[in-house]
Subunit: 791 residues, 2 copies
């Protein structure tokens, strides 16, 4: 070829190459630099659902409930090691795990001097004694580690007096006895579980000069009326006659000596003399066989119909025994309590799956815990589109963290927890939950260790200590890390007793978690016959008519029954508690019958509560799906507009049930109406903005901002100055409510107190103050939902 041709061709080639370069550079979007950012990975979700194994949950439960593991006992500490071992397993463990210990005040019966309940005859001799232990029915009730039934934190003392029957030990029960003309001073009150909290029975009794309290479980309340040994465990799920419910009688939660401070050794401890919330008088729980001996021999007036139970006799009020019964008429009851308060070490175990820090994660080079900003670790993400086969681009170009749309939020935490300590073997409470915790962490840990998956947000697993004594481990944790948790926690998921019974899911939670639970449960098959989803089964048992959605499953609200309490009430973190539970048409049991007794064993679960462990699996799947959705979705699946329904219904209840009363005292609900309306409007508008953004290709920082609005909404309802007398309770929507009107608790409680006072009283001023507190909270909440750059 001529040189001109060569030149021409060369120039042409160069031009073409150049054009190609230009086109390639500018006209074709760089895929590796802008992959469709990956939302919740449905394949991962499916894998997790499949791998959550009923058999493994069963084996976990067998091991966890093999021995009694009372808080701070050697076996409790063994389980700490078991958890650490599992969470540090190289094949299926988490990124890191550690135990942390608090020094907390617990209460135990004396081993040398057991608590006793005796009947003392007229001459002062003991003529009858109640059982000190439960009957050894399955060979598991007799061991040295089975703690004697007792009322934790009840003071020691040996009161003796005539017996009276006081129903559930509520304030009105004692008033009824007074009305009946019964002299209560110096008596021993026999009460049954239920109605009011454990500790409240002794508090109420002491106000009337009662010297000691007995508490038993009536077969009417727990056994659907059945009480004979052949009708009860191990022949059925019902409580044997000797079974006794243990429990904490402390009124508050958290370590009693270190309110608002973590119970680390150096922390200030309240002088014992100044501790409030312990029962004021000796108290002891007994089984219904003992209660029958006492109650069926009582003298006096017949108790009201609603006070009657299923012990097979007519309950009388006392005082003292009737002359024609088993004991002399002037026999007294002696309650000797020798409980001791002890400072003990109790451990939490915490395990973490770090949220991804870089887009390259995960892969083998990213597996091991390492400093946050290890920028040398870049690994191809399986979900990223592969470059075309040839010619291979330089490897370093296939990923560039500088220009990738990152949706990685390791500083956002999804917390999942359950307590570890039990009263005895605690197969149901709490090990049915811990068995699931271990299975969930195994499945997620395995994906993690294989390099298949790493969550967008960090997931923290917690095994709390000393919950049974008053949510102590979780509360101390929230006290120690208050700010960090409050700033970063997306939600807290609690699975304590995972299976009460086999019928249906039951969820308690704040409104923003409703939608994520619905999404999760619609995709999981319900155990049992038929082909229903958990959601479709659930709606048959618990439902309500929502003005927005029509008929939906109804969530319960969160009290303080388990470790979610400090998270929602003290920190304002959206929380939920998940379990499988009863068909209420089939049993009226207050709770599963062997609750807090030595009969809550592995066989009890395996034979009666959940043979096959399919309900356990259902709860594990529900919780697992919720965890993944919360940790991996771009947009936090917290639907803040679902608070609007709650607020509207609280408002309507206030208007209907308190409106007239308030008007009499010149208190207007107008500002509350306005505030609720503002909240509704802003929540709806925010939802709209999110929907719009979801349709496009969202920008990571915009998503982060919106997610922060969603996450922090719950915090806006906290006011630590709203109820200073209610320790830890700062959430103006979910603080304890005494009145029967289901409305804003501060308003409701203040109205109850003001009701019988004159206009202009301090009590009515407090009603107005409480109204302003809730209005301010709602207005503040609405303000946080507005576009962030608006005034």
């Amino acid at each position: 070829m001529q040189w001109t041709k060569v030149l021409g061709l060369g120039l042409g080639a160069a031009a073409l190459l150049g054009l190609g370069i230009i086109l390639g550079h500018f006209a074709i979007p760089k895929k590796a630099n802008s992959p469709a950012p990956q939302d919740l990975d449905l394949e991962i979700l499916e894998t997790v659902m499949e791998q959550l194994d009923a058999h493994r949950i069963r084996e976990n439960l067998r091991e966890l409930s093999r021995e009694p593991h009372l808080a701070s006992s050697p076996r409790d500490e063994d389980l700490v090691q078991l958890l650490l071992q599992r969470w540090k397993d190289p094949e299926s463990g988490l990124d890191s795990a550690e135990a942390s210990t608090y020094e907390v005040l617990l209460s135990f019966p004396s081993q040398e001097q057991p608590n006793v309940v005796d009947i003392v005859g007229p001459t002062g001799g003991i003529i009858h004694s109640c059982h000190r232990t439960e009957e050894n029915v399955t060979g598991e009730q007799g061991g040295p580690d089975v703690v004697q039934p007792y009322a934790a934190y009840a003071p020691s003392g040996t009161p003796q007096g005539l017996l009276v029957y006081a129903n559930r030990g509520a304030e009105e029960d004692f008033k009824e006895l007074q009305t009946q003309g019964i002299k209560l001073e110096g008596t021993i009150a026999l009460t049954r579980y239920g109605g009011v909290g454990r500790g409240a029975k002794a508090v109420n009794a002491a106000k009337h000069g009662i010297a000691g309290v007995l508490v038993y479980t009536d077969p009417a309340d727990i056994n659907d009326g059945l009480s004979s040994p052949d009708e009860t465990f191990p022949n059925s799920w019902y409580l044997p006659p000797s079974g006794v419910e243990r429990g904490s009688y402390y009124e508050y939660f958290g370590d009693p000596l270190t309110p608002y401070l973590p119970a680390v050794p150096s922390s200030f401890r309240v002088d014992l003399a100044n501790v409030s919330g312990f029962p004021p008088i000796p108290t002891q729980p007994i089984g219904f066989q003992d209660a029958r001996d006492l109650l069926c021999n009582l003298n006096g007036t017949l108790a009201p119909a609603t006070w009657q139970g299923a012990l097979g006799c007519h309950y009388r009020l006392g005082p003292g025994f009737r002359a024609d019964g088993d004991f002399p008429a002037d026999s007294q009851v002696n309650v000797s309590v020798y409980n001791r308060l002890e400072l003990r070490n109790s451990s939490n175990v915490l395990g973490i799956i770090r949220g991804a820090v870089e887009p390259g994660e995960p892969s083998s080079c990213c597996l091991h815990p390492r400093p946050l900003l290890c920028s040398g670790c870049r690994c191809p993400h399986p979900a990223l589109p592969l470059p075309p086969p040839s010619p291979a681009p330089p490897a370093h170009l296939s990923l560039s963290s500088g220009s990738l749309p990152l949706f990685l939020w390791p500083d956002r935490y999804v917390l999942y927890g359950n307590h570890r300590d039990s009263w005895v073997h605690g197969a149901v409470d709490p090990s049915s939950g811990t068995a699931i915790l271990l299975e969930l962490s195994r499945v997620l840990g395995t994906l993690l260790k294989k390099g298949t998956w790493r969550p967008r947000r960090s997931i923290v697993f917690a095994s709390w200590g000393a919950e049974e004594f008053g949510l102590i481990g979780s509360t101390e944790f929230t006290e120690e890390f208050f700010n960090k948790l409050q700033e970063r926690t997306v939600a807290y998921i609690n699975v304590d007793i995972s299976v009460f019974a086999n019928a249906t899911l039951r969820v308690q939670g704040t409104p923003p978690v409703q939608s994520v639970v619905f999404s999760a449960t619609k995709e999981i098959r319900s155990p049992g016959p038929g082909d229903l989803s958990i959601y479709d089964n659930w709606i048959r048992y618990f439902n309500r008519s929502s003005p927005v959605y029509g008929l939906v499953p109804s969530l319960g609200s969160l009290g303080a029954g388990s470790d979610y309490a400090p998270f929602i009430h003290f920190l304002g973190i959206s929380s939920m508690d998940i379990a499988y539970t009863y068909d209420r048409s089939k049993t009226s049991a207050r709770i599963y019958p062997t609750y807090h007794t030595a009969f809550d064993t592995f066989d009890y679960v395996d034979k009666f509560l959940d043979p096959g462990f399919s309900s356990h699996q259902a709860v594990a799947r529900t919780a697992g799906s919720v965890i993944l959705r919360l940790s991996d979705s771009f947009f936090l699946p917290l639907k803040v507009s679902d608070y609007s329904e709650t607020l509207r219904s609280f408002l309507q209840a206030a208007q209907q049930d308190l409106g007239a009363l308030l008007e009499q005292h010149s208190i207007s609900l107008g500002p509350l109406v306005t505030a609720v309306e503002k909240f509704e409007a802003e929540a709806a508008a925010l939802g709209q903005r999110i929907s719009t953004l979801q349709k496009g290709s969202p920008d990571p920082l915009q998503v982060r901002m919106l997610n922060d609005q969603l996450m922090l909404l719950e915090r806006t309802f906290l006011n630590p100055r709203a109820f200073p007398e209610e320790r830890y309770y700062s959430h103006v929507l979910w603080a304890p409510r005494t009145g029967s009107v289901v409305t804003f608790p501060g308003l409701s409680n203040a109205c109850s107190r003001a009701r019988d006072t004159a206009s202009g009283s301090e009590a009515w001023a407090e009603v107005q103050r409480q109204l302003s507190i809730v209005v301010t909270a709602l207005e503040g909440a609405a303000a946080t939902l507005r576009p962030v750059a608006d005034l």
Copy 2:
């Protein structure tokens, strides 16, 4: 050509083109997709510095101080309109601006019945009256809007009694009078300003049965001893003899009727009878010419040397007048106060420059306030690198928000504020600050409206109402938007009195703001002769030896002297207060002499305080630079490790001055030492991680996470349960400290109270509790500084 050749060439061309495309696509990084993200723009900063105009500040001040503008007065409302007009100006305004009004309790003298101070002779007749108004020296002191000097919130009443001199009205002053055997019951106490807070003088006096209080400004304290008319304004900057300092005598801050609640009309208001913090007895301020008439005629013992002042006579203690003076010996002083409490509307004005939401901003299409997610608005950013000239790439590729590294945080707020209300004309207090506020907003607003600049973070300008009565507007604002502000505010900058005098910068602030102020002031020329930077000039007047940095300017700590108080103490937002001030070697004046008098006028500033307004300009530039650095830097210029020095010095003071005492009571400082060490280590490590990241090309989400750690650190020092008796004060490091030891205030105060009690007392328990509170806060703070995905 042969077809094979054509084919060959075609194929070759295609191959070359293809190769080009591949190379272009993969081998050349897409610049528009990964521009070096722009940090603080130094050109913009330079422009702002240049455009801040001393002359315009002067003209602002002239207008602002033209008339008296007492809180809630018509002129105060006129200035609200002036601010709104400026901030809504199409050429130089902000994105949006609005006024918001609170209904607050203010206190005014009666217009019909002026407060009077008379000397009543033995027969009951008035033999002498103090001046009711200040002398009309410049023609500005006589107007109808000049409020009579008074002690706001002092109760009305007409006490009469013998006069005593009580120095500064401190607790120890009254004890001294008692020691001298002077009967205080029923007397009128003459006190001078300074030493203790205004309200405290009456509180202390009332404890001793004193019936009324007079307060004056001694020429020794304010005028460097000068007192004659020819030595004072308008002949010098000193206070004329008739000048009277007005002021609020309320002990707390915020609207007195709505503690913790915003003073919106619907909010609950405390019954007046239950309001605490008002002076308990009638109180009235007077000028030193009147004080001289009273004090120089007193009878009794000679006052101690430290009680003497510059009125040109020997101060005696009283009670009553001496026989050889101007008044009969048994003359009494009558103080008639007719102040009234009134609910008034007081406005804040808020203006916002929205932080950029999209990378295309700003340009003409992005200028007007619009919904957050207006995704249609994409405009080329001048700072983005331009694509190569030809062939022009499709326009839509030059910007793609999906793949750009965004550093836009409209949900982070930089707050800048000052109050608007004055006592009279308030040229210095507060208009010298407001004049700067208007100039800053003009310069930034102009850049904004021109499309030259939009900040990364949102900037909020605030003009607070009713500060003079107790920081009311700012406090109500923080009560109304507590959560939103706490979650999102990066820092609060306060410029109240911007120029006390011409000598040097003076900054009060929390440790994290030190570095940004240093950076800003090193780059700005100091006014006055020489070529010093503001920083270099500053260090000559206020300095300290830092273990980390060597000699540096020293920042003062924040009390509650202006509107920063609710931000730092109640919300835990890093705050600062910036001003120019005295050469302390040249004057001993407590404050600028015409403070809170009718002589604080434009001419006073223009002639004496800052002729040429170069100090005003210096403050404006400092504040402007700080605002830009806080709003535009990728990494928040808040250096949390600078808290380490403070903590270490508090710790050392505790060890040196309280250690032995604590040891006697078996209280160990060991946990505090550990906590401080942990904080130091974590703060240093975080600083290291940021440095490392700054050297690379940081990822927006990583930066956001680190910035959140920096921003939220100050919040971790808040504990609303630490000092429940100290309204609003929740910051465990900066709450009021009574003891002289410069250490942790809770510890210091508790030690002061416990010092004289036995070991085991409640007071010593409180010392331990306060120690645990601060240890918990420091441990919690350290935990928030750790890598976010660590346990």
